[in-house]
């Protein structure tokens, strides 16, 4: 657990990078510092492992003032991941990951073994261990950077825009990986980004900083979307707040209605439609696509898997949220979202107004902050 107590960083030329920051980072959770350039988020992060020392206030790590610790020793207990990875070009990937264990006195063999485990943990093939950083792609280098930070199993992990320098597809992948890792590891993670969507996606709690180093709001992502503290936060959070907020609400209360399906191979004459549409499914009752009434009438004898109208995201009933439910209804050509269970088989249909009704109910019961 990390506490900032009235922490200030002022430079000799007068610039105030961080202005009297009071913040408590929860242990075992991902806390994201987000804000525009010059808001002090990176400075605040780098004060935790004493890469920068505050000019005022103090920072406590598990109740102990970090100024009492020798910086190199403090840092060996904190993982540090930066944007350009900063891998040592002159060492192999495996030796890079082994760095901190070796620093803390592990034997070379133990350190290398641990390194190999970590490469696997971050989803990299073992052969990559023998290569040099220059031979790896940007995404691979970032993963090695994360592995290196985790090598000594530190309780705290600091990440400074680690995914900003890779392309969106790789970034998405890395974000998913981080969430998966965290569900196994439960580290205290402080993550800095300038991307509000990344903050909302990853953070258990998000701290929004404004230019000049002041904290604007510190809340959960859903609170941030539903109740931004002021104009700055609401404009920083961006458009479609309402829609994006739906992803934080479970769709438990949304009723799944009956829906007409027909298996591939059924005689065209026997197929029925409801409101002009029918879902075509395979033998395991998994959806293949939509068939309109007109298309049905032009078919030959049997219903096939060809010529179906695809489209519409699927709504999973066991772990869905309101946003997913609404999206499945809105994106379906028939106006009805296909609801599936854990095996992917069709269990029913979702209508958009059912979702809105569920939202209104949630408001009434207080689930959604009014």
């Amino acid at each position: 657990m990390i506490e900032f107590k009235a922490v200030t960083k002022k430079y000799p030329d007068g610039t105030v990078a961080v202005d009297s920051l009071d913040l408590a980072v929860d242990a075992g959770r991902i806390t994201v510092f987000v804000g525009p350039s010059g808001c002090g988020k990176t400075t605040s992060l780098r004060m935790i492992n004493r890469m920068i020392d505050p000019t005022g206030g103090s920072i406590l790590l598990d109740g102990k003032d970090i100024r009492e610790s020798d910086p190199p020793l403090l840092r060996r207990g904190i993982g540090y991941v930066i944007q350009q990875a900063g891998l040592f070009p002159h060492r192999t990937v495996l030796d890079n990951v082994s760095t901190v264990p070796l620093l803390t006195g592990a034997s070379r063999r133990d350190a290398r073994r641990r390194a190999a485990e970590l490469l696997e943990l971050v989803g990299l093939p073992a052969e990559l261990g023998k290569r040099y950083p220059v031979q790896l792609s940007g995404g691979q280098q970032q993963r090695v950077g994360v592995a290196r930070a985790l090598a000594a199993d530190p309780p705290v992990l600091l990440m400074d825009e680690p995914f900003s320098a890779v392309d969106p597809i790789v970034r998405d992948d890395l974000q998913q990986q981080l969430l998966r890792l965290q569900s196994d590891l439960d580290k205290t993670i402080v993550f800095v980004t300038h991307d509000i969507d990344e903050a909302i996606k990853l953070g258990d709690k998000v701290a929004v900083f404004r230019v000049g180093g002041r904290l604007a709001q510190y809340a959960t992502p859903s609170e941030l979307l539903a109740k931004p503290a002021d104009d700055f936060v609401s404009s920083f959070v961006g458009r479609d707040r309402g829609y994006r907020a739906l992803s934080f609400l479970t769709a438990d209360g949304v009723p799944v209605g009956p829906v007409t399906t027909t298996k591939v191979g059924t005689k065209a004459a026997d197929a029925e439609t409801t409101d002009g549409w029918v879902i075509v499914v395979d033998d395991e009752n998994r959806p293949l696509g939509w068939l309109s009434a007109e298309l049905l009438s032009t078919l030959g004898t049997t219903v096939t898997a060809d010529g179906l109208v695809s489209g519409g995201s699927l709504y999973r009933v066991d772990d869905g949220n309101l946003r997913g439910a609404l999206d499945s209804a809105l994106s379906s050509p028939a106006g009805v979202g296909i609801a599936v269970d854990g095996d992917g088989t069709v269990v029913g249909g979702i209508k958009a107004d059912a979702v809105i009704e569920a939202l209104a109910q949630a408001r009434k019961t207080g689930e959604v902050p009014a």
């Binding site: 492992n49 890469m51 910086p71 190199p72 020793l73 403090l74 840092r75 060996r76 207990g77 993982g79 540090y80 930066i82 944007q83 350009q84 990875a85 900063g86 891998l87 040592f88 070009p89 002159h90 060492r91 192999t92 760095t99 901190v100 620093l103 040099y132 950083p133 220059v134 031979q135 950077g145 290196r148 930070a149 600091l158």
Partner: protein, 255 residues
């Protein structure tokens, strides 16, 4: 002394002198002189590196004292090595020490500049990551900055070595050995003597060949000594820096 103007004659007499077996044996023979020459060079470079690499590394690591790098490089390039050598010998005595001191002084700038540039050019993100994971300053310098600076440090040492090989030819003028001996003795032998110009030219050929061979060997050593993870980066950085200004390690010519 006139080596005659036609092309063939002087070349032949130079080659005759060069391949005369008498000149390949004994304390005044070519092999001895080569060894003497390489000896002066090795001694000088080792001493100069022992001085310049630590200083250059510390200046590069801390960023303080950079005036030393620029000042020494420019100043010492303008100093005539013949003058330095002979003056020092005159002021002290005829012997190895004053010669080696002069040679070391002239070898310092390329190594200093190369080491400084090498340490400075290490990616700041790499240094930041090293500090962030808990390495002490000295460890960062020793285990991260210096290995990554190795290509440019070796470049500086290479440049210094070539320079010393060239300057060591002058050592013969102050009664020492080395390959300059043939040029000086040949010059003193006078007109028409078979040990006159032919000896000078033969000596010059050996000097040139030795310099080229050493350069070739050092090129290979440099490639082998650098971590495979740095090989492409090293050449990239060298060529991208060349056009900005010719740094001493690339143009350390003083003799």
């Amino acid at each position: 002394m006139d080596p005659r103007t036609a092309g063939g004659e002087p070349v032949n007499s130079a080659l005759d002198w060069l391949f005369n077996p008498d000149h390949w044996s004994g304390p005044t023979g070519i092999p001895t002189r080569i060894l003497e020459h390489l000896g002066y060079t090795a001694l000088t470079v080792v001493i100069a590196a022992a001085i310049a690499v630590p200083i250059g590394a510390i200046i590069g690591h801390t960023g303080r004292g950079t005036f030393l790098i620029a000042g020494l490089s420019n100043g010492l390039r303008a100093l005539p090595e013949l003058g330095l050598l002979t003056l020092l010998v005159l002021l002290t005595y005829v012997g190895l020490l004053p010669v080696v001191i002069s040679l070391v002084i002239l070898a310092l700038p390329p190594i200093l500049a190369g080491t400084y540039a090498g340490v400075r050019n290490v990616d700041r993100a790499v240094v930041d990551a090293a500090q962030g994971m808990g390495m002490r300053g000295s460890t960062v310098l020793w285990k991260v900055e210096l290995p990554n600076a190795l290509p440019l440090i070796l470049g500086g040492i290479r440049s210094a070595t070539l320079q010393v090989i060239a300057t060591a030819t002058i050592a013969a003028y102050v009664a020492l050995g080395g390959l300059g001996r043939f040029v000086i003795d040949g010059n003193n032998a006078g007109a028409g003597s078979p040990d006159g110009y032919p000896q000078m030219a033969a000596g010059a050929i050996v000097i040139a060949v030795l310099a080229l061979v050493v350069e070739g060997v050092l090129e290979v050593v440099q490639r082998l000594a650098v971590s495979p993870g740095l090989r492409n980066a090293a050449t990239r950085k060298r060529t991208s820096r060349i056009w900005r200004k010719p740094t001493p390690e690339l143009v350390g010519k003083s003799t």
